[in-house]
Amino acid sequence: MFSHVMAVLQPYSILTIIIGTVAGVAIGGMPGLTATMAVGLLVPFTYTMDPALGLMLLGGIYCGAMYGGSIPAILLNTPGTPAAVATAIEGFPMSRKGKAGLALKVSVIASFTGGVFSVFILLLFAPMLARQALHFGPPENFLLALMGLAGIVSIADENSSLIKALIAGLLGMIIAIVGTDDMSGSLRYTMGYVELVDGINFMPALIGLFSMIQMLELAGLRRTHKIDMSALHKKQKSEPLPKGIFKFIALGAGTGTVIGVLPGEGATIAAFISYNVSKRISKLKELFGKGNPEGIAAAEAGNNGCVGGSLVPTLTLGIPGNSVAAALMGAFIIQGMIPGPDLFTQYADKTYPFILSMFIANGVFLIVGLTVAPYLARIALIPPAIMVPVVATFAVLGSYALNNAIFDVYMMIAFAGFGLILKKLGYSLEALILGLILGPIAEGGFSQGMIMGKGSPWIFFESGIAKVMWVLIILLLVPPLYSYWKNVAMVKAPPKEALDDLDSLNEPE
């Protein structure tokens, strides 16, 4: 471990982490740009870099972007990332009262604590979990992919119905079968394109679905919403941290880490769940919505807690915890480092420095947040007309860079165009990318499992690990399916109170 620590403390490594983290804070601070977009865009560029340095750069961006979204949320009521929406609810009212300094301080300390805690959990549990993966054979790998795909059910929300989320996941898996069939060596669905022989690369898909779509949407906006800059000009006083705030930070850090571990659950959900729980247990309930630092503490510790948590299943089992982790997984794969036990044995000299670098990244954004955060809020004022061409340039370059293939750029544009239509129709793009990533793992595990079982599917239920995994899959599926069923039932038969409320709304004033 000492050699890994020393690898991180090299000047070049430190510089890379600082660049990544500061860039991440800046990207997270720009509304419309997200951590997934930034990591996805930069993964191809890390291909030719030293693997450890490339991963440190991306880790820094992930940590920085997750925190960066809170700065404009607090100062301008404009969350830089969706995960900072809960922060804006409490942060902006505080800024208007002249308490932006306190809000920013609470936000950065909560983010730092949540981030460090989750990376510590990653460091502690990932190698143990990865060792278990040594006992996995093809049937277990198939079940592992199923477990990841079960996350699709929890991706479904008010914007994408359960069935549409499942269709999107299946579509991703179908796209993933294009290319050479590993079992027979024959080509499938390549339509004569040589570029498709190795299948559809998921990096152009990721860049198209998570970066280019956002740019297309921004470019097509007739007018952007006006940002309230009054808090930036208000005199802000410096205050100490409120008493008892660490209870809420601890709550957020724990919640965020656990939620991060679950496949498909992202930082936005972590932030909102932490925020809602803090609201329930707070002694100052009446202050929520009017500027309560406890809400900021829980939400920020929650979304940053997701960082380490999401990497636990990603690095150990190859199941991305969320879309940023999926992009990061791409960085490991293009370096030939397949997630699993090998990352902690054969590639330990790269994996451990990457994990340790995230402690430093958290420290870097802590310093940035405590010193220059108010100035960084102005990043949110960059007009989309400038942001769009810059990001589009990196999107094209990133898609091309991986294979030096113009075909990948066209794929990226196609994914962006079709993905936008799917998004507008309520399909989940996260589910699509999850299907695209886990499809090959599922197919490989299924096909090899069927050979092992001599054509009998019982092979997928035989081993003890397989039985435990089936239980876990059911446990992952039941709660979201139950709440979905409950929602559907409520839509069909609204409760009497709701009908009464509706009646009272319809009454003339």
Binding site: D181, R222, I386, P389, L420, I421
Partner: protein, 147 residues
């Protein structure tokens, strides 16, 4: 086009895709029949069933008559897509720096931005950043570059 109509067209497309996918597995050779083909059939059947169920929901429950608004500003939207394709075509031959030096200002102007010094500074900043950080500092081998 109305949102629900496009939704139905897409769902119908998915159902057709599922059928074609299922039929195509008949041509899988040898051992693939008992392995990959089964997997692909499972995907096809699942996709087909879910698409039809969703199509049913859409036909009988979706009464939304609103149009699908892909964008508020079609010229800019199409302009960006077209510029992206041209950029991709050109930069393989002209190199990254030259093509990006044209693409960024043209796109900024197309999107209605008229602050020329900021456009020039941004373009120079991006090219300088890519050169210094990616090429020099991080030793990233950027493709098709001729500076």
């Amino acid at each position: 086009m109305a949102r629900r109509h496009l939704d139905r067209v897409i769902l119908l497309g998915f159902a057709v895709l599922a059928v074609l996918l299922y039929i195509s597995t008949a041509s899988y050779p040898g051992i693939a029949q008992k392995t990959s083909a089964l997997y692909v059939r499972f995907l096809a059947v699942s996709m087909g069933i879910l698409s039809i169920v969703q199509l049913g929901f859409s036909m009988f429950r979706d009464h939304d008559t609103g149009r699908l608004e892909l964008t508020d500003h079609w010229p800019r939207f199409i302009g960006l897509l077209a510029a992206l394709i041209v950029f991709a075509l050109v930069f393989e031959h002209a190199g990254f720096y030259l093509s990006a030096a044209v693409f960024i200002p043209v796109m900024a102007l197309l999107l209605g931005y008229r602050n020329y010094p900021v456009i020039a500074l941004t373009t120079a900043g991006v090219l300088g950043f890519v050169y210094l950080v990616f090429e020099k500092l991080l030793s990233v081998n950027l493709p098709g570059m001729a500076l």
